[in-house]
Symmetry: C2
Subunit: 368 residues, 2 copies
């Protein structure tokens, strides 16, 4: 199949560090190539792929200081991808640009499917999605759909993690781990308090918040770090290991007793949970968003609510079998499984189009 | 002709106060309707027009506090306009969205022409325009083109002002006038110093800068106002009249001795110069951007550089004939003249397309 993968221009594919969407696009692209598809990847020029790479920008925008306005780069990305789609180069366009490709998709006979990678409970979104009822979208968890149940949902395809590189560690270790953004919704303050209540050491792998004060989100993260997190660091049971790269992940994840995931927001997927499971490390989490889909309580982790409860669960985590965590990660979150899921979506959508153009319509079947 | 006018969703058409692009789109739309065209206006739902209005948002986004992210509304605007263009509803799409419509325009057999309303010397722009060499663009002054000379420039069509409502005042008055944003590049500090050197009163019609400190541009404007402008207000020759609406403009402009326009940036057009001329009021300006195209030195105004020179020119302004200012405004900046200019562009572009589809290409003729 001739498949276009269209990534945002902000981070390379794969990303050097932070960048969940680009990580997933990379795993999907390489696996589709491996399976014999003719894949074209639209992404920043510093991306690395075995597919045909069409650079939308020379360098990922997050690495360029002089880029003030992202709008031109969305337009460039759409222009490059859909000009080729118009010329018949692809059987299907797979967009990772949220709603940004919808207007172009409406004008192009090649079908577009869009994976929505973000949270969908934001105030502007119902207005836009209502204007594009024909856009076929894929969710990365069933729970992600809840704010917008009436979209043309094609399927849930869970994100994959690199199960080959995330080596299984059958023994684990003695520390709890927090890996993620320092942001109120990710709950680092809760993680620190849970570890203290449990009497266990906590390693925190996270980049300190940026200093840029013009972005209100960055400013809020910084205020959270300075006002809420930093005072909790005095106790001495917390080790800040900074932002880590892919090479360091298997060791840090595999040697942990458990991953702490005490979030307070509707997490659409939560890649780090799947990464921990791939290393054999179970998850102790709060039940928000995708959590009960990714972690099976009592099988691959333990789910609780209050800090006291989570601390107690940390002491019960030895009841979870690490081999089962690994097996479940491979069974549910491997690139092969993800690529199979998308192949089915591509076939359904291209098949549908052919039927429509032949005058025979049929109802979409909810595929989840 | 069946014409789509596509306006940004941020301000109504016409705008209530500030909003040069929307003001010009409104004048063009109404004049095209008057001339018998079938015009569809894509704009916020609180717009007022004799054309068919397709609301892209219910209320102009600048009036909605809860709108954080403009991206969805660009996508909605493009989706609404180009879905109808795809279905053959228009002979031509006239976009006022800068480069935003280029990707859709490439996918649509109906030709799009784009008027560029802003400055073009920003760092991101060469990259995007290089990706869409086929996009036909209209400049609002010849000088606007300088940073990007190699675009497919179709023509310069000067902006229009409402010459019927901006009544001619043959006598003028005794004060100098500054009308515009309080922003370093607009030169309010220079205007105050020029008026002081000239020994003439200055009226300033401008909204005080906003308090929002998260936007770096707004913050810079506020710092300019507090740090540079406010200390100059102590002298007592300056009267701040606040932000004014369209109804107050003819009196304030017509009763002035001269409009002061001591800018320090490549102004792409400068509507207020044309508005002043329509009321018979000449312009004292610095030669930046469009200024020498809009103001003819010695005929409709006087152009200088330093504050001392500008102050001296204020005392020579009685040499400029106010009737000539009015006549030149009507001759060059009336809605009729603007609509004629665009009609020619529409005909050239739709004619070209018809020829191309018949297999006969021809070179574009530079029309300026």
């Amino acid at each position: 199949m001739r498949i276009a993968q269209v990534a945002p221009p902000f981070e390379s594919v794969p990303p050097t560090r932070y960048g969940g969407t680009e990580r997933v696009v990379s795993l999907l692209t390489e696996e589709l190539v491996r399976r014999g598809h003719d894949v074209t990847l639209f992404a920043s020029g510093d991306s690395t792929t075995r597919a045909r790479l069409i650079p939308t920008v020379d360098t990922a925008l997050w690495r360029l200081d002089e880029v003030r306005d992202p709008l031109p780069y969305w337009a460039i990305t759409l222009g490059e991808a859909y000009r080729r789609a118009r010329d018949g180069e692809f059987d299907v366009v797979h967009s990772h640009l949220d709603f940004q490709a919808f207007a172009c998709a409406d004008l192009c006979s090649t079908p577009t499917i869009t994976t929505l990678h973000g949270r969908l409970d934001l105030p502007d979104l119902p207005r836009i999605y209502a204007r594009f009822p024909a856009a076929g979208v894929v969710s990365i968890s069933d729970s992600q759909r809840m704010p917008l149940p009436d979209l043309r949902w094609l399927r849930t395809v869970y994100n994959a993690v690199d199960v080959d590189r995330l080596a299984f560690n059958p023994k684990g270790g003695e520390y709890l781990l927090f890996l993620g953004r320092i942001s109120p919704e990710k709950g680092l303050d809760r993680a620190i308090q849970v570890a203290k209540l449990a009497g266990l050491p906590l390693k925190v792998a996270a980049r300190p918040p940026l200093q840029d004060t013009s972005d209100p989100v960055i400013r809020a993260d910084r205020e959270y770090y300075e006002g809420v997190v930093r005072p909790l660091l005095a106790d001495g049971h917390v080790e800040m290991v900074g932002e880590i790269g892919d090479a360091e992940k298997p060791e840090l994840l595999g040697n942990a007793l458990a991953l702490l995931f005490p979030i307070d927001w509707p997490e659409p997927f939560g890649l780090v949970m799947a990464e921990a499971l791939a290393c054999g490390t179970p998850v102790v989490a709060r039940s928000r968003g995708s959590v009960p889909e990714i972690v099976t309580h009592g099988v691959t982790g333990l789910i609780g609510e209050t800090n006291e409860e989570l601390a107690r669960l940390c002491h019960e985590i030895h009841l979870i079998d690490r081999q089962t965590c690994r097996d479940e990660a491979v069974r549910r979150f491997s690139p092969t499984v993800m690529a199979c899921g998308y192949e089915e979506v591509y076939c359904e959508e291209t098949g549908d189009r052919r039927q429509e153009s032949g005058g025979v319509g049929r109802l979409m079947t909810e595929a989840v």
